[in-house]
Structures are given as C-alpha cells and as structure tokens.
Symmetry: D3
Subunit: 167 residues, 6 copies
C-alpha cells in the first residue's frame, strides 16, 4: 500500500481513531500542547423560496425559528463529545452560530473556540448540523423537500497540524 501513500499523500495508517487492528479508540492527546484553537464550519438548508420568504418577512417575523436554531446549535456544540464516540471532551470558551435566510436556503455558520489540547472542528460541524436539523424540524410542516447540505469546515487555526482555510 505504500504506493498509494506516495501518490495520493494519504497514509493508510492515518486513521488516528483506530489501533493497528482497526479497533476504535480515543486517541491520546495528553502530550499535546494547550493552545487557542478556533474552527469555523458552514452548511445550508435548502428550502422552498416561499418558506424562506416567510422566515425573513418583516411583517410577521418568525423570530423563534432562527433563535431556536441558534440556541440548538450552541447547545449541541457543548455535547459534541457525548454524540461523536471518539471525540474528546473539550471546555469550549466560545460558540457562535449565525443563520442567514437567502432565497431558497438558510445558510448557517458556526464558530467554536477553546484553549485546549485538541481541535474544535467537530464542535463547529456539530453546531451547524443540529442547527440545520432544527430549521428543518420547524419548517417541515410547510416544506417536505428540504435538504441539508454542504456541511464543511471553512477555517481552522491553532494546533500542530497548522492552519486551514476551505471555502
């Protein structure tokens, strides 16, 4: 398999959550340094443009849809290690979730921050996912064809693996 590695840059032994026999474990970060770590993730709920219009309408602001989604996202970030089997518990020092209603979609962005030994990308991604599920839940009586998508890391800083900027 070493040829795979040299060509693709992907190390088949790089599954940090598996031991040599392919068995799951929570990787040891005891030796890692405590640094400020930030991660930003984004995602989208595609919705009928009529529903999007209602969500952003000034006449009858459906404020609690967006507030509920923001709050659900923040709360979910705090529970990431309880949901994702091999995530380390992390003392988040900040979480922010923002939602923007576009034509035909709600765009979600979450920023998570900690001062610790592991990164917080899973916290940011979990915040986006649960925030999106909450939008879905609150709009599903109006639109049965919503899709949640494009959930990805857009920025990461702090930690040994260096900074990362996606799109």
């Amino acid at each position: 398999m070493s040829s795979d590695h040299s060509e693709s840059g992907i190390d088949p032994d790089g599954f940090t959550h598996l031991d040599a026999q392919g068995r799951a474990l929570m990787v040891d970060v005891s030796g890692k340094q405590e640094t400020v770590r930030v991660a930003v993730a984004r995602g989208r709920v595609s919705i009928a443009s009529e529903v999007a219009r209602l969500l952003s309408s000034g006449e009858m602001p459906k404020g609690d849809v967006l507030a509920a989604a923001r709050i659900a996202g923040v709360m979910a970030a705090k529970r990431t290690s309880d949901l994702i089997p091999l995530c380390h518990p992390i003392m988040l020092t900040s979480v922010k979730v923002t939602l923007e209603v576009m034509s035909g979609a709600v765009e979600i962005e979450a920023t998570a921050k900690t001062c610790g030994q592991t990164g917080v990308e899973m916290e940011a991604l979990t915040a986006v996912s649960v925030s999106a599920l909450t939008v879905y839940d609150m709009c599903k009586a109006l639109d049965r064809s919503m899709r949640i998508g494009d959930i990805r890391l857009v920025q990461k800083s702090g930690g040994r693996s260096g900074d990362f900027t996606g799109s």
Copy 2:
C-alpha cells in the same frame, strides 16, 4: 398573504412550532392517534477516493469506522428530542443505520420506526447526521476536504399527513 398561499400551496400559518406571535412551543399531539410510523432518511459524506478505498479495503478492514458510525447514528436517534428543541420524546421501536462506501463517498441511510403520536423523520435525519459526523471525525486526519451533504427524507409512512416518497 392569502395570495401567497393560494399560489404556492404554502400556508404562512403553517409553522406548527410557533404560536400566533411567532414564539416557539412544542405542538400539542395529545389528540393524535397512535399508529406505526416509519421514516427513512439518507445523506452522504464526500471523501477522497483514496480514503474511501481504505475504508472498504479487504486487506485491512477499518471495520470500526463504519461500526462506530452505525452505532453513533442509532444512539443519536434515541436522543433526537434532547437535541432538537421542539421535538417530542418518542419511544423508538426500531432504528437501523447502514453505510455503504462508494468511490468518493460514504452513503448513509437510516430507518426509524415507532408506534406513536408523532412522526419519526427527525429521528431518521438525526441518525444520518450524527453518523456522517462520526465518519468525518474518524477520517479527518486523512482528508480535510470532506463534505456532509444531501441529507433528506426519502420515505415516510403513518400519520395523518399521508405517505411521502422522496428521492
């Protein structure tokens, strides 16, 4: 706003989780009938084809990646009402999560079932989402450009609102 409604088929008063002032509430289902309800949701994690190959490789089965994702999905389904603010607690009678490794993607499908007063689409969607996040977490040391997407309801049966089949 009634014209919106007649044209688009979308009822601006259809936000069942909001009262007349737009404030969040958990809708009353006391009067609804207990029926068997099933929902099937799907989603996808886009990954580098090299990583996909490692996941499905016969030589060194990374069995625990898929097992962890299956189990995380099932456990998350059971916690849906704890994550999504206005979801009703539900006694799930069955949850099944399957993952299929394709070239460049892991396809995830979750089926949730209950005999109760509300549907289980949020449970199926939550299972897919958390299963996808688990795949992401376990592969992120190998591939930083993964995306989680296309999370949607593909089938629903039981309940007053009738059956639904998506794609």
Copy 3:
C-alpha cells in the same frame, strides 16, 4: 403519630417516594390508568426595572433572551426525569412556556401535557425553574440582585388525585 394525621390531614406515611424504612424508590405506577394529564406552573424572576425595560423595549428587542428562556424551559421539561431522581420518564405530548416582562420582574408560566400514568407537575415546575435560570444567566452582567421565586403549581388535571387549582 395518628393524632398528627387526624388533626393536620397529613399522613406521615404519605411520602410515596420512600419505603417503610425511609429509603428512596421510584413508586410503582404500573397499575395506574393512562389519562390526559395537564399541569400549569408559574414563577418569577425579580429584576431591576431598568433591565426589565431593556428586555421589553421596542427599540432594540432583546428577543433572544426571551426566546432562549422559552426554549431552555421546553428542553428542561423533557429532561425532568433525568434531573429529579425519582421522577418517572414521561412522553410529553405538549409543552409551552411563556414569559411576560413586567415592571421589575419577568413572569414565567409553563404548561405540560401528557397522556400517561403519572402527573406532569414536575415537568411544568422544571420548565419554569430552568427558564428562570436562563433569564438570570442572560441578565446577570447587568443586575446582580435578581431573585427567582414564587415557583408553584397553579393548575393540575387528570389522574386519580383529582383536579387542583392554586393561585
């Protein structure tokens, strides 16, 4: 002790959560009938009138304070049996939390509903309590002298023990 009982109407053996030796247990409700049960509880956070004014101000609606408190109350109601040691798990069919900003106080009311074998007063009281704590948390940088009080059951119906109306 029977004299106590006859005078005060209080039965010293009435601690339903204790056995004959005073040891905690979760009382057996297997034989109780499933009926629709409703409970309404209320409480209050006393705050500086300036802060109350800011909360209700039209100019710059601090909407998320009240939205967060509503949502936290609903979510807490669903976790009552996880917080209160001897509470039975309950499938809530509805929860509604309302907050009203008065001069010098935020008044909170929670209504919980189920169709089950035990009452839902603890769910309503827990919703009020956690909703009040959330208001406190969000205003504590402005006012350190808040008090949470007057948390009580104001109405209960369904179940063997008959209806109850407080004040």
Copy 4:
C-alpha cells in the same frame, strides 16, 4: 438610552450573551484568566409545618428525602452548561449542597467552586433549584401548596468583576 445608563448604572449594551443585533451567543472567555472562583446560592421550599416536622423527626427519619435532594443538587450543578443554553462548560472542583429543615420551610444552600475562566454562580443557582424541585417532588403527595422561592446568589469571589456578597 444613554440617560438611562447614567442614572441607573445599567448599560443597555451589557447583555453579554447577545450580539449587537440581540442574537444569542456564548460569550468568548478565551482571554480571561484562570482563577479560583467560588459562588454560594440559597433558596427555600415553603412547606406545611406538619411535613417539615416529619422531615426532621427523629422517630422516623426521612433521611432519603434530604439525601436525594443533596445528591440531585450536586448532579445538577455538573449539568448546568447542558441546561442553560449559553453557560460555558466548567470543570467544577467542588460542590456542596446543604438542606436545613425549619418550621414551615426547607432552606437550601449550595457552594460551587472551580479554577477556571468563568464564574460558577449559575452552577450554584442550578444546584439550589434542582435540589428544591427534588424536595418538592418527594413531598408533593403530602402537600400541594409548596412554593419554591428566594433563589439568589449570596456570595461570589474570584474573577474580574470583583467579589460580591448578597443576603
């Protein structure tokens, strides 16, 4: 609104959990110093004096009522950030809950301690609240007119905002 501020000492921008648009966020404490922080909160459950007498009676100690309330309070303190949407997760280094049965009331005091970047008043207040709810739950078959009240911070030390002593 600046006149309000100068008169009352209350800064309308002081809602630390809201951004400039009034949207909820978990405030960033990354830059704050780790210090030992202590908070003490108190509250009360008003109960019928007959029930209070039974609780404190030497003849048949209802020991588990008070023990359950103590334990529920300690466990709730550990879950504060899971209940209150914008609370930071905190590594509590100590929690103590004491209950004193008076004539007509159970007085509850909770002390929480940490070495961290944010205060622990919400942890102490949550411990008191859930401890009070547990007393209520265990006595409600005997007394339907209980009230939970007077929940407040009585002492706080550590952190930038200086020490505080209430009553």
Copy 5:
C-alpha cells in the same frame, strides 16, 4: 454450523442485535405486545470488612453512601437506553434499588418494571452496576482492593420469551 445448534441449543443466528452481515441494529419490536414486564438483578461489591463495619455502624451512620448508591442506581436505570447502544427507550413504571451491608460485601438488588414491548433486564442490570460503582467511588479512599462482581439477572417475567428465575 447447524450441528453446533443442535448440540448446544444455541442458535448462531440468535444475535438479535446483528443483521445477516453482523452489523449492529436496534431490533424491531413494533409488533410485540405491550405487557407488564419485571426484571430483578443482583450484584455485589466486595469490600474490606472494616469498611463494611463502618458503613453499617449505628454510631456514625454513613447514610449518604447507601442513599447515594440507591439514587444513582435508580437514575442510571432511567438512562439505560442512553448508555447501551442498542437498548430501546423504555418508560419505566417503577425502579427499586436496595443495598445490604454484609460482612465483607455490599449486596445490591434492583427491580425494574414497565408496561411495554421489550424487557427490562438491562435496566435492572444497569441500576445494579451504577449503584455498585457509586459504592466503590465513595469507599475508594478507604479500600483500594474492592471488586464489583456477580452481576446477574435473577428473575424476569412478562414478554414472549417466558419467565426466568436465576440465582
């Protein structure tokens, strides 16, 4: 493999939590009948006889050790489906945990009850396990050689598979 089966009475296809490919799932109980189901489990913490003597001593009753263990057991029973990946959520109608201090051991028994579609043996076993861990935690400063053992089902009734009595 059929010979194995005929000899041992064990069906290799009897892993109800695995599908035909050995993949985990939460088995479908939708079709099962709701009946009253009871399970009783037992276990033991072996402790130094000196510690046992202190626990049961009349002079200075360490009441809260046993109370904490009882309460932790009851609370854990309610979280069984949150801990054991493929357990169904269950509405427990009763849980009772008793501890008896013997010479050199604390004996624990838990009884769980429900009216539902699946058995409650895991709930009873989980209550015993967590109750035992709590005894261990509270005594570990005194005795580092404790062992938790003999956790087993001693009785089960209700459900299709018939009654069971162990020892």
Copy 6:
C-alpha cells in the same frame, strides 16, 4: 473507634465524599496539582462457551458485538461524572477499551488518562462496566445465564496517593 483504625489501617473519617455528619458532598480538589493520571480497570462477562465461540469465529465475525462494546465503553467513560453522583467532571485525554474473547468469557480492559486534579479510576471502571453490559445486551437472546464480574482496578498512577498495582 481509634482502635479499629490502628489495627486495620482504615480511617473511619476517610470517607472523603461525606462531611462530618455523614452527608454527601463532592470533595474539594481545587488545591490539588494537575498531573498526568492513568488508571487501568478490568472485568469479565462469563458466557456460554458456544456463544464465545460464535463471537470469535472467523467464519462469520460478529464484529459489531465487540465494536459496540468498545464504543459504549469509551462513551460511558466520558459520562462518568454524569452517572456517579460525586465524581468530578474530568477532561479525559485518552480512553481505550479492549475486549478479548476467551473460552467461556469475554475479558474487558479499559485504560483512562487525563491531565488533571483527580484520578480516573472511576472512568476506567465505568468503561468496563458499560462495555460489559453491552456485551450482555447483545448476547442475551442466546444466553440467559451470563454474569458480569471481577470488575476491579488493576493499575493507577499519578496523583498524591501514589501508584497502585492490583491483579
């Protein structure tokens, strides 16, 4: 009682989780030093040898039984302070659970690690216990006579109380 102490080496005041009146509290560790702490615990599920053979069989690997038990153990370790009333919350830096199928038993070992102010033996013991319960759950349709036993600490290092090696 001092004679007991001198003879047995057990200090009757050594219940660190109880105050002078025997009331439960979460002991104050604020003054303790942060050091790397490791604990290893072991336990066993006794099962019918036929079932053990199926679990370890090469023909039809019941991989998910062991994977589910590993994952449940890791996840439970992270929830220890949520389950055991007086355990401190701990930022685990590593958890590893291994299962070995023997003739007539599944042997389980868990290693927990942190850099903190309190030991992690309860985390390791909880991981073993819940891992064992998961094996039990997944095999109970095949074997009703399983027993979980011999759960004990086998190694501990870090912290003031010195290293410990059991068997």
